[in-house]
């Protein structure tokens, strides 16, 4: 009697679990957009109760790897896949992988200089010099030049960077590669690079903790992180010569500027974008969607989500401090959804 009861329970529970699942779509990738993806998948599930999107924020690199291996249905990355990775996907899965920009993010310079509470202005040359280890003191002319009226001490600069591989590092090094030939040849851009100088902090939290604890330090964090944790950050001089403080407007400006020359596959870097009020260290973040999805239900679900994301989804971006996609990009993406078959 007891045995049959236990067996019956087990069968009921198992079937219950299966029944409650509905359609489950798995994705993995970048941690930077995790808050907004989380919100989107939750809202979308409320509207379409029979499907569930499950997203693991394991990092852009892992996201690219897993979507190439086929262990997840879609991936997400802060940096576009390079040609080598595209080819690897083609070889492994026999079809193309498509990039869909979702929101915009930015990296901002944060610092801790004793006695300085003003917002500092940084030129590209100053940032490149500091992170290359060439500019070593806070009262270097490259830094004091655009900051007249601020009393910068002659202390040694302590550089702080990310120790873990990260999309924010990708954005930062991508920008530095564009504005400094020396950086491009010595270090180049990637989610994880061989930093010439500096301490490494794990995650934006680690970098912030180090900067708070270390006087005379400078580092970079995501705009969202700085905004939500009330961390002071500086302005950066953009390609048009204006010192711009990163906020949702200036980041969207950067994307609008690049929208005109956007390539068909959306793999574009918008750092150092043209535009008077564009913030120069901005970037898209992408969803990586296979162009061929075998399962009809999954394909329709993903296409439905993408359409929703480009319309209603964008309204959730601002409240979570992400910048919306510009209209031109949304229009182009809507047409590209048809490529998912």
């Amino acid at each position: 009697m007891k045995r049959t009861a236990v067996l019956l329970m087990a069968v009921l529970v198992a079937s219950g679990v299966v029944w409650a699942q509905g359609l489950l779509i798995n994705g993995a990738g970048a941690s930077f957009p995790y808050p907004i993806y989380s919100k989107w998948f939750d809202v979308y599930h409320q509207k379409n109760g029979n499907m569930q999107f499950n997203y693991q924020s394991v990092g852009s690199g892992a996201g690219i790897k897993q979507v190439t291996e086929g262990t997840v249905d879609f991936g997400a990355s802060d940096g576009p896949m390079n040609d080598e990775q595209l080819k690897a996907y083609q070889d492994k899965r026999g079809s193309e992988i498509l990039h869909f920009p979702t929101v915009l993010g930015a990296a901002v310079p944060t610092y801790n200089v004793p006695g300085v509470s003003a917002t500092l202005n940084f030129t590209p040359e100053a940032l490149a010099g500091i992170f290359l280890g060439k500019i070593t003191k806070w009262n270097d002319p490259a830094i004091t030049g655009p900051n007249k009226g601020v009393n910068l001490p002659g202390n040694e600069i302590v550089v702080v960077h990310r120790s873990d591989g990260s999309g924010t590092t990708y954005i930062w090094t991508d920008y530095l590669s564009k504005v400094s030939d020396e950086w491009k040849s010595k270090v180049n851009k990637a989610t994880s690079v061989n930093w010439p100088v500096g301490l490494g902090g794990k995650g934006s939290e680690g970098v912030t903790a180090l900067i708070k604890q270390t006087p005379n330090s400078i580092g970079y964090v995501e705009l969202i992180y700085a905004a939500q944790n009330n961390i002071p950050y500086g302005t950066v001089k953009n390609a048009a010569g204006t010192f711009v403080k990163a906020d949702l407007k200036s980041v969207s400006e950067a994307a609008a500027g690049a929208a005109k020359d956007m390539p068909e596959d959306f793999r574009v870097s918008i750092t150092n974008a043209p535009g008077k009020t564009a913030y120069p260290i901005s970037s898209f973040t992408w969803l990586l969607i296979p162009s061929k999805i075998q399962d009809n239900a999954k394909r329709d679900a993903i296409k439905g989500f993408l359409t929703w994301m480009l319309a209603d989804g964008q309204t959730y971006a601002e409240q979570l401090s992400y910048a919306k996609l510009p209209k031109e990009v949304i229009e182009k993406e809507k047409k590209a959804i048809a490529k998912v078959q």
């Binding site: 394991v58 990092g59 852009s60 690199g61 892992a62 690219i64 790897k65 080598e84 990775q85 040694e156 302590v158 120790s163 873990d164 591989g165 990260s166 270090v187 180049n188 851009k189 990637a190 989610t191 994880s192 690079v193 061989n194 930093w195 500096g198 301490l199 490494g200 902090g201 794990k202 680690g206 903790a209 180090l210 604890q213 270390t214």
Partner: protein, 321 residues
């Protein structure tokens, strides 16, 4: 009459199996064998998974200082150096403190105090390593910057190990945090070993006219020497593999520097930081090869600890006869 034959190999295996003893033996043997199998398959996977960089770099992997994911050049020396230095600093601090405390607890303290303190020490050992990392960032980093660095750098700054600026994080900070983490291990095991030294040894020493301290230091501790050495090896094994606490306070800078105040890196820390974002086969496999190096290091040291413990028990049983 079946199965009731003489107690020898003439009974079939199946008939032996019907008795509980044989089944128990088989099952427990399988469990024991599976542990060995898991270890072997772990090493096998690490070996296979690191094929690319092993063929590309060979032994150069162990001597190159250049870890560049963009250029796809990988040299493990800064990480091996950092792992060894932080562990060495940790042991240098933990051994005197740990052995001193264990002597106090085993020999000199009243049993009630000894048991109470042992409870707290076990508590320390159970604290997760991330908490130690936070302790490091918020308490030890300012301590280094404001107290320890000025105290060591001003008078002894000419020595290479105390030279240069301090950022708060670095080899010394990581070493101190690791020392706090491994002291409970040394105390627990050493205290057990010291308590297990036979009473006659102490009584004989005292009877021959030695003071309390002399009997402890000159008779009891040497008797327990191999067990204490075993505890040190266990502490070393933990220090080598510690990941989160180290990465939060070591500075995460893959550079070799003589100064203890300089930032550095360790094998476990770099794998934890970079592995999930690794792109490309060579980079991913390079981290796996680092894991293999760390595994071998820990395996060798654990093996030595095992052997020492075996030698201790043999020696102990021989002497007490």
């Amino acid at each position: 009459m079946q199965g009731a034959g003489p107690i020898s190999g003439s009974r079939s295996f199946l008939s032996k199996l019907r008795e509980g003893d044989e089944i128990a033996r088989l099952i427990t043997f399988i469990f024991a064998a599976s542990v060995v199998l898991i270890t072997i398959s772990l090493v096998y996977e690490l070996w296979i998974g690191s094929a690319l960089p092993r063929h590309k770099f060979g032994l150069h992997f162990f001597v190159s200082q250049d870890w560049d994911p963009v250029m796809d050049q990988y040299g493990a020396l800064p990480f091996i150096y950092g792992t060894l230095v932080t562990s060495a600093v940790a042991l240098l601090l933990a051994i005197p403190l740990g052995i001193g405390a264990s002597i106090f607890l085993a020999e000199l303290a009243p049993p009630r105090i000894s048991d109470t303190l042992q409870f707290f020490i076990d508590l320390l050992a159970a604290v997760p390593s991330v908490i130690y990392g936070l302790l490091g960032i918020f308490i030890i980093v300012p301590l280094i910057r404001n107290v320890i660095y000025p105290a060591l750098n001003k008078p002894f700054g000419f020595l290479p190990i105390f030279k240069g600026p301090s950022y708060g994080v670095g080899f010394l900070t990581a070493g101190i945090v690791l020392a706090i983490m491994v002291i409970p291990y040394i105390i627990s095991v050493s205290r057990e070993v010291l308590l297990s030294v036979p009473r006659d040894q102490r009584e004989a020493a005292l009877a021959l006219g030695s003071t309390r301290w002399e009997s402890t230091w000159k008779v009891v501790v040497p008797f327990a020497k191999t067990g204490i050495m075993g505890s040190i090896f266990l502490a070393l094994a933990r220090a080598l593999g510690e990941t989160m606490a180290v990465t939060m306070v070591v500075g995460n800078s893959p550079k070799i520097a003589a100064s203890l105040f300089a930032p550095g890196y360790s094998i476990a820390a770099v794998i934890a930081n970079d592995f999930t974002e690794a792109t490309g086969e060579l980079q991913t496999q390079a981290y796996i090869e680092l894991g293999l190096v760390l595994f071998l290091l820990t395996f060798i040291l654990n093996g030595l600890a095992r052997i020492l413990i075996i030698v201790t028990t043999q020696k102990g049983s021989k002497v007490s006869n």
